[in-house]
Symmetry: C2
Subunit: 147 residues, 2 copies
DNA sequence: ATCTGATGTAACAAGTATCGTTACGACAGT
DNA sequence: ACTGTCGTAACGATACTTGTTACATCAGAT
């Protein structure tokens, strides 16, 4: 599976914005978040754009512009983020239709579709159990470097 | 997520071999399986090669060559197949290490690693619940075309 | 009204993975 | 020796992610 880091970076951005806002700031810029995630601001803007479409964050333009949470971290789950940034299914079917004249070729797609649906439902359930509030809590619980 | 069809095709191949053997044949050829899956025999050989490395199938060479199950369908689960054909993790970390001087950058990777581990463990548990015997049963239960 | 700093997007390159395909050597039974 | 199949390398097409540059757009501040 060509695993990507979209969910990780999106969670990173949300946790960063959430913490920044708790420190009294109104908005966070893509540049600040990109510096923390060690990537390019455009990558952050692209991801946050998808989160905005999902109603998780808001953005301001003009002077004093930036990003803010549209919901409390407590009410955002990894499932919300996952659905916002990972559109496709977890497992794909055959690229070309299997031989419908063969018993296996005929029945394999409905069979696997049903099985995959159950599995993805479980995955979504697990993702829904993790709030971004918990993510931030875990982040802050990481042991500091030795002094 | 760039979903691929490796798990689907591998399950297809195993179900096909299993059914074929129940019909009294000793071995199945990559060409027969490829015809059913509507793909190229080399694609099947590549996938079955990985399943062989995992101890799920065996292959014979020479004349009368082909593939056979190394275990009963009942004892093979989708987790066995998944582990054989999908090496990587489901979600990736940052490509480049985040800023360790930032609180979030410092704590995000251990946090997400722990969360992802739990989620992948659940996924594996779900995959382990589905045997290839059940896959074949579901395949054969698919409604036939109207006569 | 202009300046300024940030968003919103398009466009492109590099890297990586899957999938299909061709080619050919290796093998074992007839 | 012949034959059919595996085993595997090699290549191209396609697609996705990530990083990057560039630039128009916006809205508050001066």
């Amino acid at each position: 599976m060509s695993a990507n880091s979209r969910l990780t970076i999106a969670a990173h951005a949300l946790a960063w914005i959430g913490l920044y806002q708790r420190q009294g700031h109104e908005v966070a810029t893509s540049e600040q978040i990109a510096a923390s995630a060690n990537t390019n601001p455009v990558v952050i803007r692209r991801l946050l754009g998808e989160l905005r479409r999902a109603g998780l964050v808001e953005s301001r333009r003009g002077a004093g512009a930036g990003w803010s949470l549209a919901r409390e971290l407590e009410s955002i789950t990894l499932l919300d983020v996952y659905e916002a940034v990972e559109p496709g299914p977890l497992f794909a079917m055959h690229r070309t239709a299997p031989d419908q004249g063969c018993v296996v070729g005929h029945g394999i797609q409905p069979a696997m579709r049903g099985i995959y649906q159950d599995i993805e439902e479980t995955l979504r359930h697990e993702l829904a159990r993790v709030t971004l509030e918990k993510v931030l809590r875990d982040v802050l619980a990481a042991p500091r470097r030795p002094v």
